[in-house]
Amino acid sequence: MRRPRAWPLLAPGGLWLVVFFAVPIALMLGVSLMPRGVYGGVEPGLTLAHYRRFFDPLYLAVLRRTLLLAAGCTALCLALGYPVAYAIARSGRWKHLLLFLIVLPFWTSFLVRTYAMIFLLRDTGLVNQVLLGLGLVDAPLTLLYTPGAVVAGLVYGYLPFMVLPIYASLERLDRSLLEAAAVLGARPVARFLRITLPLSMPGVAAGCFLVFIPAVGAFLTPDLLGGAKQLMIGNLIQNQFTSARHWPFGSAASFIVMALVLAGLLVYLRLRDAPARGER
């Protein structure tokens, strides 16, 4: 049988991506290599100065903080998300309800939800009122505008991106593998460590990337919950495009972050495919 041509189906979405993703990226790459104009914008020319400027200790510190916060957020999402995904995958008829609850927060705006966290964490917020009311603390704790607040906000925002891919990989896990392991003498803990966990690694990896990548680029959460002291690379880039009116530097910083993330992805893919090629 002749297979129907697939490209007409690809055309609308492909065109959309070309116009709104590929073209702007190409423009940004061009801008990042051009000298800055006196009143913002760019002047004709070719320079690597903006890329060199990024390696200033000031900006490297922001990058370092960004990577640490994003890594912390990813680790916490994994620690919280894996058990949730595991429980949902084994919850039988409650599965659909629980999955629905996981994605429910997406029904409201991320901005609104982040503002809501301010009400929770500020000095006169709910958390401090409960702690004071219970007499556990004498004075309100500084919760807002700390790295902890940023991580909490990021975890809250990105947890579903960790839960869903892990759930999907656990859901696909063939129950008979666990039964075979049990008959072969494996107790529950051994079954988890030797069968379930390794076979859910693709889901774990997908979840980690889905959380880490947007966390590296986050600017709303550090802006609202971290204040001026917890500047992340996303805020830096945002400032270059807005108040600083330095588009070339903002573009260069974007490309450096993008290159880092891509490098990480490639390293992971190399590691993952190594055993499948029969290497030991």
Partner: protein, 377 residues
Amino acid sequence: MPASSRSDSPPVVELVRVSKHFGEVRAVDAVSFAIRRGEFFSLLGPSGCGKTTTLRLLAGLEEPDDDGGEIRLLGETITRRRPYERNLAMVFQSYALFPHLTVERNVAFGLEQRKVPRGEIGERVRRALEMVRLAPDKFARRMPAQLSGGQRQRVALARALVLGSPILLLDEPLGALDLKLRKEMQLELRQLNHELGVTFVYVTHDQEEALTMSDRIAVMDHGRIVQVGTPAEVYENPRTAFVAGFIGTANFFRGRVERRGPDGCWEVAGRDGLRFRVPHQPGLGDGVEVEIAVRPEWMDVFPPDRVPPEENAVPGTVREVMYLGETMHVVAAIAPGRDVTVAVRNEGQLIKPLPWRRGDAVAIGWLPEDSQVLEAD
């Protein structure tokens, strides 16, 4: 004391009135049987008859109902033990090979879980792979995805055999293989059973497979065991119409016993005005309703009115003559909508063709003692 003979030794596996419900469904209903050491024991039945659940109860993958009887292995009651506390080996229908481990790590898995010393594992894995005819040098480092169906089947078998467990459970292990490979594996499994002295408990829905391989067969239907016996017993002396119909082909006749004839046989007035004789059996007497099964190969086709007097004779019309290779099947209508199948040896249709053609009037004959008197289901 002298060593007891094989049949006297205590059963290796024993189920005593084991029951298992899934909700309202009675999957396994008061099943009892005992399996002797080294036996090749098959659980045979259609899908949904409870054979796989019975095997899973044995493995500990299902738990019997609260008052669901007792399971013993090697004389020890293990009804509620976890699977990893049973020292059993099992081959799964889908093989259940661990996709992220090499062949050698798959086979080593059970040994590692049983804390066998590292140095010993390599050698035992090697021997197990050789036992299932997979060259260790060639296959040990492969991933399951790089194997054919037959090779995966062998790895699953090696993974079970390597443990040296006295009992091997097999859940339709050959179901996914093509016919030629299946025949080959049937023979190999039988040989392994003989050579290793391991007791095999084998689940299958394939009656031919059960007949060729088993020492004894338990025929199951609707969660119950209908009959346990050697292949010859269940084929030649089926207890019920279900067994007669499920194992091989059978022609069924029903009727009411009328009187005892001079030859000691009972004369039966069948439906559709047929008359036939059945040999004496306990329970037969005047007025008793009786059902019999007759195997096609124990019947013969004659010209009308030429059936020998000692045989039962039923007139009919040839509907179809089918060529099966070793045998020919003659299907004759003996009443509207009632067919009888007779198997006749094929002596070469090119040299000595069967004289029967579609539409010929014939008579079907069989000896009364070749009638299998059935119990009601």
